[in-house]
């Protein structure tokens, strides 16, 4: 039924969240409804806002390390990475090759963990309970490996400007290799269980179509843009760390629907495994930390650094006044821009499709409310 035809008594407001199972965090969406159809979904942000940017401007720059992990709890190492690389760029610090390799290996493990979490959670939103049990089992293996090396299971504070806080050992390499084999053996099972499931396909195919123009206007990046057929990946587009040394593909979708975003993330896990494999094979010896003075004043001026986080482009933008304390810190997080497409994306959609479309955006709310 079109908007014009709808009798007014079918119109009502529906409140979703801030404590709703499918928002996966404290996000509230006010839905203007017409019967079962969504006319205007307006996200309400700020329930969990901690003012990370203010915190960054209120302490010497090393004091912000732990904060970086508390924005995107599902892909914390990418946030570590962006921040350290930003300081390195501004201060002109050279990172030892071994440290860069360790960063890539652990970052990619984290990316897989994040995608596995999303995979299970999306299917849970769509009413399939079993897959999350499998993906959590696999994700648990990564958390164990990373816990051994970083000391935390989720909110990692592992990277430092100049390298990483501690070296990896043979046990780490061995366990990571075992994990690669394990996860590869699980993909066919997941594909059989989920990817070809007709009920699942009916829920996501053709639902929530995002095209390239929309990505450009909203600044949507990561798997959302790649699902729309845009092969934009910061690891390729603006190569950082040692990513140029590895051979990997950038999976893209064709239709830009929820299914394409789903498949892009699914294929990305295999690509991450490939990167980890190559990095383990070529892991150089040497120090894992450059010599960086304990107290380091940041030279004046502005500097930007973008990394490919699990959800898209993460940009740290720092303006320094020449002291140890950043004068201005702007953090551009991918989920924020990805969520902002929602009102346009879901106009005229069935309520149950909104859940599928929103799930396919892979939102992490503490990242939006940073």
């Amino acid at each position: 039924m079109s908007e014009a035809q709808a009798p007014l008594h079918h119109r009502f407001h529906l409140n979703m969240g801030p404590q709703h199972p499918s928002t996966h965090g404290v996000l509230r969406v006010i839905l203007e409804m017409d019967g079962e159809y969504v006319l205007n979904p307006q996200p309400v942000l700020g329930y969990g806002h901690r003012m990370q940017e203010k915190m960054a401007e209120a302490r010497a720059w090393p004091g912000f390390y732990p904060n970086t992990a508390r924005m995107d709890y599902a892909g914390a190492l990418h946030y570590n990475h962006g921040y350290c690389a930003l300081i390195e760029r501004l201060a002109g610090i050279e990172v030892p090759p071994r440290a860069e390799y360790i960063r890539v290996i652990t970052s990619e493990l984290n990316r897989i963990a994040s995608h596995l979490l999303w995979y299970g959670a999306l299917l849970l939103d769509l009413g399939a309970f079993t897959p999350i049990l499998y993906t959590f089992d696999d994700r648990e293996q990564i958390l164990d490996i990373l816990e051994d090396i970083t000391g935390s299971r989720l909110t990692y504070c592992y990277f430092r400007a100049g390298g990483v806080s501690r070296d990896i050992d043979d046990k780490f390499v061995e366990r990571t290799r075992a994990f690669i084999t394990r996860l590869r053996s699980r993909f066919p099972m997941l594909e059989k269980l989920v990817n070809g499931n007709v009920i699942f396909l009916k829920r996501v195919e053709g639902v929530g179509i995002i095209d390239k123009d929309m990505c450009q206007r909203y600044g949507a990046t990561g798997p959302v843009a790649r699902g729309a057929g845009v092969p934009y990946d910061v690891r390729r587009a603006e190569p950082y760390s040692v990513y140029p040394e590895f051979d990997f593909e950038i999976p893209v979708g064709e239709n830009g629907d929820s299914l394409d975003r789903f498949l892009v993330r699914f294929k990305e896990m295999e690509q991450s495994l490939r990167i980890i494999e190559q990095a383990l094979d070529r892991l150089p010896d040497g120090p894992v930390m450059a010599k960086v003075p304990k107290k380091l004043k940041l030279s004046p001026g502005d500097v930007s650094f973008a990394v490919e986080a699990a959800r898209g482009e993460l940009t740290y933008y720092l303006i320094s006044d020449g002291t140890e304390v950043p004068y201005r810190m702007r953090i551009r997080v991918p989920s924020y821009s990805n969520l902002s497409v929602l009102p346009e994306l879901c106009h005229g959609m069935l309520l149950s499709d909104l859940v599928a479309a929103m799930g396919s955006l892979d939102l992490v709310i503490p990242e939006i409310d940073r």
Partner: protein, 170 residues
Amino acid sequence: MRQTEDVQRAVQAVAVAVTPVEYGQRGYHLLVELENGRVRDFARIMHDQGYFIGFVTAVHVAPAIEVRYQFAHFDRQSRVMGFTTVDAAGAVPTIADIFPGANWHERETRDFYGVVFTGHPNLEPLILPEEDVDLKPLLKSEKNLKDAAAVRWPEPKVAEDTAAAPAAKE
């Protein structure tokens, strides 16, 4: 690099100054200084050239708050940083109709700095609760406020020395 030159030529017409910057040092390619009234023209060029919106934000410096815009491109390695200062009324034209993605960024900047985006379709608080609308948490205290020049990237060392030398003789 040629592609950056193209966009440089395009924005030249609407900008006060366009400066190519060293990507390796600063993480972007082009710094564009804009007059307050030309922000929309700049955004339109960015849109027509196929750039996507990175972020909109502000920085509190003396004498006036600066609003900054970052754009990047899906198909080529080019990151553009535009900036302007707010006018006497603390306002700057909105770009939310050209880049709907700027809508939330502008609302957030309004929350944190009190910058008014003229023509914005819905300049309601995004993050702050309604009772704290005028909190402006990211404004600097008088003690901490710096001049715009103090947070600029310094001129290359060589240029500075040659410029300083004749002055010293006088």
